[in-house]
C-alpha cells in the first residue's frame, strides 16, 4: 500500500547525481570568488586568540608597576627634597645622622622603584608561598645609556 502523498509528481528527469554535466550550467560561484582557507583567515586569525598568556601577564604587570611608580613618585620626591633641605641646614650632629639614615633608606626605595620602571619580562619568584614579581635581576642591571646622559 502506498503511503506517499505525492499528489503532483515532478516529471522524471533521472538521478541528478549521476548526470555528468550537472555543472554545465552557470555555477553560482565564479572561480575568482573562491577563496582558500588561508585567505579567509587574513588579518586576524580568530584561532590565535588574543595572544600568549605571558604577554597578558606582562601587560598586567607593566600596568601595575607603572601605576605604583606614578603614584609613589610625587610624595617620594617631596620627602627626598625636604630631607635634603634639612640636611643642608641642620647643624646638630645627632639630627644629621638620623637624616642620613632616612636618606639612605629613601635611596633604597628609589632603587626599588627604578626596578619597577624597568620591568620588561614577566617573572615571578616564590616568597613564602606567594608569587611576587621578580625584579632582582633588574636591580643588578646597568642603567640605560640614555638615562645616564639625561640627569
Amino acid at each position: 500500500m502506498e503511503t506517499s502523498n505525492n499528489g503532483s509528481r515532478q516529471p522524471d528527469i533521472g538521478d541528478r547525481r549521476k548526470a555528468l554535466n550537472r555543472r554545465v550550467l552557470d555555477d553560482r560561484r565564479k572561480a575568482d570568488d573562491r577563496r582558500s582557507g588561508h585567505d579567509r583567515r587574513n588579518g586576524r586569525d580568530r584561532r590565535s586568540g588574543w595572544g600568549k598568556i605571558e604577554q597578558h601577564l606582562l601587560r598586567g604587570a607593566l600596568a601595575a608597576s607603572a601605576s605604583i611608580v606614578f603614584q609613589f613618585s610625587r610624595p617620594f620626591t617631596i620627602i627626598l627634597g625636604y630631607v635634603d633641605l634639612l640636611l643642608s641646614s641642620s647643624k646638630e650632629e645627632h639630627t644629621k645622622q638620623k637624616l642620613f639614615i632616612i636618606k639612605e633608606q629613601l635611596e633604597k626605595i628609589s632603587e626599588i622603584l627604578d626596578s619597577f620602571r624597568e620591568v620588561e619580562t614577566f617573572q615571578t619568584k616564590d616568597f613564602d608561598g606567594i608569587d611576587i614579581l621578580d625584579t632582582n635581576n633588574l636591580l643588578e642591571a646597568e642603567p640605560d645609556e640614555l638615562d645616564r646622559k639625561i640627569l
Partner: protein, 132 residues
Amino acid sequence: MLNLINMEVLLFDSTRDQLLMMEEILKRIGCRVTLVMSEYECFAKLMNRRYDLVIFDHGIPGLDIAAFVAQLETIDRCMSVAMMVTLPSRFYEEKYGCSGIDFLIFKPFGYKEILLLAREAFQYSLKLRKAS
C-alpha cells in the same frame, strides 16, 4: 663655575606641595622663583618677564604638553624647558623627542639633581641667547 644667582625660574604644577619644595631648593641655590598652578597663569607670567628656565610636571591634568611647549617656544625660543617625569627616558623620547623640551628631570629628585638641572639649563639658555 656658573653663577646661578638671579636666574629666573618659572615652576608650573597643578599641586602646591611639590612646588613649595622645589621653590625652597631653588631659592637656596640662589634662583628667583615664580610659582604658577595653571596654564593661563603661566603664559601671563611669561608675557611680563623673561625667564631662563621653565619647569613643569608631566602629570598636570588636562595639559596638552606638545601644544604647551610649542606656545612656550613662540614666546621665548632661548628659554630652557624642563619636564618632571617618572618613567625612563625611552617612554618620552618618541612622544616628545621633537618638541621643545630640553631637559627631563626624573622623579624622585633632590637638592643635587635640581642644582644640576638649574646649572645645565642656565648654561644652555645662555648659549641660545648668545647665538640669537
